[in-house]
């Protein structure tokens, strides 16, 4: 990796690992491409309504070693025109479309400048993140209907599915174009559960913000609250005690356990192996019951807060052993079944080059051979020898299944180690707080939730309330990978492929 300090951008240090610079809209393409060429990943793009201008913040990250670089691009409110980064980063092109919908920014040279977040029935000049927008408008159909790309030819059929699905999945509309059983093209149309979460954060105090961040994606309550808390702590200059960091890591791994086991069961269920699903669900219920005893909530809410972490009790080594025993039973049950393995093997392949181009993170990336894990790249705690990045290369459903199995095992080892370690430390220490350094600098929190890297960027107002929170759930980056992986698979494999990614709709739609 090239040294970032050698680049032609005037960077100043704003956080522990963070550099920042202000560039004009004319030089953003050049600066961004130099950072991407230096091996950095575009983690987040957020807009800020500063009144007289709209400021766009690009956050690039890389690691290890943990590096974060921010580019601020102020746009004049009269000329909201932004040159696109679509040619150098695919995820940038989606962030930009989000900006266009929510802030009304005109994208210069964007290959696909159509709506992303707001559905077609919203009025064309209504941008919910602008501060002058106060009331929800009347629904009109100015923007026409959704521009699905037509697929034509003899024997091509179109299958619309959703947003109300036959199974128990969250709302999203999928449209397949098939010949026989083979999928030619699939388009996922989301944002049915868009709740305007980012706007909701504005003006809230920290505690209310924490409540919202726990409900961004119900099954990633810990991941999101850790990222939010870290961002707030960086804003305020809070030092978190070592024991609180360990408790956070424990809760994060507990969340990974109950979600991965559900996915393993659901994958088996989607190929008709209900027995494994029943066993997985009973193990999951056991974990949820344990969670209830750990933080008082079945989904581990209430454990993390800015400045620290709290638990009622921790799992004992014996409980972990029992979970491990039941889990190995479940795994051997499903992997010894040839029918299950036959369906997993070679289904819905996402190859490494596609995954890299799309900027995929988390389980899906590690199953395609990309060794990226935020616990390794942006660690908030040393996890010891037991931790390693679970890596598989095939990119099919089996690889994603195996990554989950490996991560479950690694998490159990980490948990055993951390629980031993925390008992040797005292109570959560005093929290030291410094003055807010610079309001514009904000804070960034990165946590490896069970789906992948969760990034929050927080800015505080002068009175200590939240002025802007930008959230990037891994689902936002991973959704475009699903249609790519689905090419040339058959329609009955769609639920299986979808489950193997298991992306959040609520976290994506925000």
């Amino acid at each position: 990796m090239k040294e970032i300090s050698n680049l032609a951008i005037d960077l100043e240090s704003v956080g522990t690992h963070r550099l920042s610079a202000t560039v004009g809209p004319e030089s953003i393409v050049e600066s961004a491409s130099s950072l991407i060429n230096a091996g950095m990943r575009l983690a987040l793009v957020s807009g800020h309504d500063d009144g007289f201008s709209i400021r766009i913040v690009y956050l690039f990250t890389s690691g290890p070693p943990d590096r974060r670089v921010e580019l601020h691009v102020p746009l004049d409110i009269e000329h909201l025109e932004l040159p696109t980064l679509a040619s150098i980063s695919f995820s940038a092109s989606r962030f930009e479309r989000e900006l266009a919908d929510l802030f009304g920014i005109t994208l210069l040279g964007h290959p696909q400048p159509r709506r992303l977040v707001l559905h077609q029935h919203w009025p064309t000049n209504w941008h919910p993140m602008r501060h002058d927008t106060v009331d929800p408008p009347k629904m009109v159909r100015e923007a026409g209907s959704y521009p699905f790309v037509p697929v034509e030819g003899s024997g091509v059929f179109e299958i619309p599915v959703g947003p109300v699905h036959a199974g128990l999945i969250e709302p999203g509309h999928f449209r397949f174009w098939v010949v026989g059983e083979t999928i030619l093209r699939m388009k996922a149309r989301l944002w049915f559960v868009h709740k305007g979460i980012e706007r909701l954060f504005e003006g809230k105090d920290i505690e209310a913000g924490l409540g919202i961040s726990e409900r961004i994606s119900g099954d990633s309550a810990v991941g999101h609250s850790i990222a939010f808390s870290q961002a707030v702590e960086e804003c305020r200059g809070t030092q978190v005690s070592a024991r609180a960091q360990i408790l956070r890591a424990i809760l994060l791994e507990m969340e990974r356990l109950y979600n991965h086991v559900a996915d393993i069961g659901a994958l088996c269920n989607d190929v008709g192996y209900g027995l494994a699903q029943a066993n997985a669900l009973s193990l999951r219920e056991k974990l949820l019951g344990l969670n209830r005893e750990i933080t008082g909530h079945r989904l581990l809410r209430g454990g993390i807060f800015p400045g620290g972490a709290k638990v009622v009790r921790l799992p004992t080594q014996r409980e972990l052993e029992e979970i491990g025993y039941q889990f190995e039973d479940l795994v051997s049950q499903s992997t010894s079944n040839t029918l299950v393995m036959e369906r997993f093997n070679g289904t819905a392949i996402l190859d490494r080059s596609h995954a890299q181009e799309l900027g995929v993170v988390g389980v899906a990336a590690r199953a395609s051979g990309i060794s990226f894990d935020s616990r390794d790249a942006h660690p908030f705690i040393e996890l010891g020898e037991n931790f390693k990045v679970a890596l598989h290369n095939r990119g099919d459903v089996l690889a994603r299944f195996n990554v989950r199995v490996d991560e479950f095992r690694i998490s159990l080892l980490i948990l055993g180690e951390l629980i031993k370690l925390q008992s040797s430390l005292g109570e959560v220490g005093q929290i030291s707080e410094n003055d807010i350094k610079s309001l514009r600098a904000g804070g960034v929190g990165i946590a490896e939730g069970w789906r992948g890297t969760i990034v929050h960027r927080v800015e505080l107002a002068a009175n200590g309330t939240l002025s802007r929170v930008k959230i990037v759930d891994p689902s936002f980056l991973n959704w475009p990978a699903l249609p790519v992986a689905l090419a040339d698979t058959i329609v009955p494999d769609f639920p299986l492929a979808n489950k193997s990614f298991n992306l959040s709709y609520a976290g994506n739609d925000l």
């Binding site: 009331d135 109300v164 036959a166 969250e170 049915f192 559960v193 010894s336």
Partner: protein
């Protein structure tokens, strides 16, 4: 490994939660997570202070009285952190109730056994949906009571809705409701579906599904436990009419936007 599962089933024994204790009484453990209750009135400054920290306007100060509307409570416990707080979380409060008093006469005659349920997510975070998914696990095993999840609204008796009814889901929710044959029942599960939770202050979040379709049964909690959800299904079949289901209530005031 696989062919020994019957044997292992016998070894691990039954996991399913009991419904009745040895005396044949309905078990209520785990039915509710606890709901807020005002045990004593306090001075207006204290009451206004409490109302200001409630993120979902479950606490309301009206007519010189501190009132609590448990259907809006998300159990963040910010109001009970202080030991001197006039609010307590109690388990004897009902978590399931009917929206319409007439239902107590109508419903038990319309539905008896074999209830088919269509579940719609209308803007849920994943929390309530997670608990609804647990209904079919070996612990709760909804099938043993004759409750089934059906893939299509055309076959459904009950529409179970989670989530706040976001603007972009409202049309789909309405269409699902209209596709169902009569008689039909709507169960709103969770604080979001009842009042919009914290999303009701948002421009696109929705203020609960009762503004989109008529709601018959309300299940409180954020999220409610699986046993509470099963309880709500029992209540519409008339097979169990526990004291925790009431039919009278007062309407809370409109949610205020910031």
């Amino acid at each position: 490994m696989t062919n020994t599962w019957i044997l292992r089933g016998i070894i691990h024994r039954k996991k399913t939660e009991k419904r009745y204790d040895s005396d044949g009484l309905v078990l209520t453990k785990g039915i509710t997570l606890g709901l807020p209750f005002v045990k004593k009135q306090v001075s207006s400054e204290n009451a206004i202070q409490l109302v200001s920290i409630c993120p979902t306007q479950a606490l309301v100060y009206e007519n010189n009285k501190l009132n609590v509307y448990p259907e809006r409570c998300i159990r963040c416990d910010r109001c009970v952190e202080d030991n001197l707080s006039p609010i307590v979380m109690t388990n004897d409060q009902p978590s399931v109730r009917w929206s319409n008093p007439d239902n107590s006469v109508l419903l038990p005659h319309q539905f008896r056994r074999s209830i088919h349920i269509r579940i719609v997510d209308a803007g849920d975070c994943g929390g309530c949906y997670n608990e609804v998914r647990q209904l079919n696990n070996p612990f709760y095993n909804m099938h043993r009571f004759g409750f089934f999840i059906t893939p299509t609204p055309r076959n459904a008796d009950v529409l179970m809705v989670v989530g706040s009814g976001t603007r972009q889901m409202q049309y789909a929710l309405q269409a699902t409701y209209e596709a169902m044959p009569t008689p039909k029942i709507v169960i709103a599960v969770g604080t979001c579906a009842l009042s919009g939770n914290m999303w009701s202050k948002s421009l696109t979040g929705g203020t609960g599904i009762k503004n989109v379709i008529p709601v018959d049964v309300e299940v409180m909690g954020s999220p409610p436990t699986p046993l509470t959800i099963i309880q709500s299904l029992f209540s519409i079949t008339g097979r169990q009419m526990p004291a925790s289901i009431i039919s009278s209530k007062t309407e809370p005031p409109e949610m205020k936007r910031d």
